[in-house]
Amino acid sequence: MPSVSQTQSTRSAPNQQAQTQSTETGSSVNSAANSSMSSGQQSQQCLVGNQAIAAKLGVNAEKTPRVLPTPLPGEVGTVTYYKARYRDYRSRHDAPPPPDYYLAYGDKYANRFTTTLRPTLSPVGQKWVDRTFVLLQQAMENRLLVNRTAFDDLELDTNAFKQFAYGTHSKAYIDGGLSTLPASDLLKISTTPDLGDLATMDGVSQIIETGAQLVPQWGEQLLEEAEDTGEQVWDWATDW
């Protein structure tokens, strides 16, 4: 049993009107609140959700009904998907800022991979870029679709959002066909200019880690190619 304070205390929260609670046993408020959930109470839940968001943003809940994220199925698989998600967020929230993943990571990588990297890859590598693109964005869209309110909460926490988004990367790389890539494509992926100047280098490192785990002999090929190309790869790989 965790050691909680011996006096029963109510954590007060702003704008909790219908949900005002007392911790005294048997209070009528609690009795009324502990009632069967009906579909009619879903609007009450929206109100609670509104109050939660409003409290976070410091605004009056009743004047700011919660607007849920809009599904964007038509944007999945396009280079503009992350900007579209960003704009959708901005249409619903003035503050806090949108998850930095949308522009600093997702959109940046989308453009880097499609405009800088893709033309240099083999046909197989280009297919990998195209498929992985779709899978990464579909994963994000699916998270939204299953629970729009929870997705809205996730967007309001930029670190949690980044954790979620990056959590989809490894499997997307694999299902996109990473194992079909020649080692030369893998090397190009890891040495595309500007992919190494971001903290999101982590995302690229996932490709290499995933690749090395998946196809151990790549490790050897990568080593050989790196030795052939000299310092460039090692500078990038060790420039943390």
């Binding site: 939660a52 990056y166 790989a237």
Partner: protein, 316 residues
Amino acid sequence: MHISSILPFLLGCTVPNADWDVRASLPENYFPAATRMLAGEVTLFGGYLQGGDTWAIQDRTAVVLRWDGTAPATVWTGRGWVVDLAVQGDIAWLLAGTLKASGADSDYSAARSLDRGLTWQDLGPVTVPNAERLLVVSRDEAWVLGPGVLGRTTNGGHSWSSVVAPGHRNSVEERLVGDADNVLIVGDGVRATKDGGSTWLDNDVDGSHVEAVAGSLVLARSGGKLRLGRMEPGTVRWISTFPAGLAPFRLVASGSTIRFLATPAAGHSGVVLYQSVDNGKSWKARRVSSDGGASGADIDLSSGVAMDVRRRILSP
């Protein structure tokens, strides 16, 4: 020297790898929602199997796989996906979701096992909207938490009731934890009820955000630090400090042994296992090559299970 042995160091990860081996394989198209160890070396993996090749929601099949050290066995399937899985002794509950006909948001249902996941009974709909997290208290009592919602059943899922607790419900920032007779909401401090939510006791844990709880131990974040502390009446005594980028999700402790799992900073794959055998005075950290973050790994006091990106089961 093989590159795979130095990759973690090249890639900025200086935590040594845990000595966990491949034990078995899950289906390659398995996507985890929750991994739960039970006593007796049984682990339940709950999530979904993805059909097709475009990750369309409509091509999901909810599944629970049971692993007892031999080949994993499918013990439950349903439409949609498993949202969460919770265990208490020999009892396991699952929360499953299916996409609404409108194409957005989900309907929920529950199922229960009383024999450590061997057989399951469907319990019907969970009439709590937006449920994300599940806690099982007993055979007939379970709780769910989601954005703006907290609900409970005491009759084996036959009906569900709304529960009011101090603060705002947020499934990103909060977790449900069972502790002896108490149900805890862990997040903005720790809130505890032992009467089904009629009354709550509150510990704000020095104003910190609590990530995990085991007994009186808490892993909490404040002032940019992640710390382990022991809750005492009216206060918390901090014991250890950890890298701020860690996101702990599972804490277990008994006697002088404390262990926890954490996902590293976003973008780094795998999970990190921290262990102390001297009440937190000193720690060993080991990296486990796990995919799925908190969804794909679990530990108990002496062992652990994780699933890697190739869907292989890893264990010591």
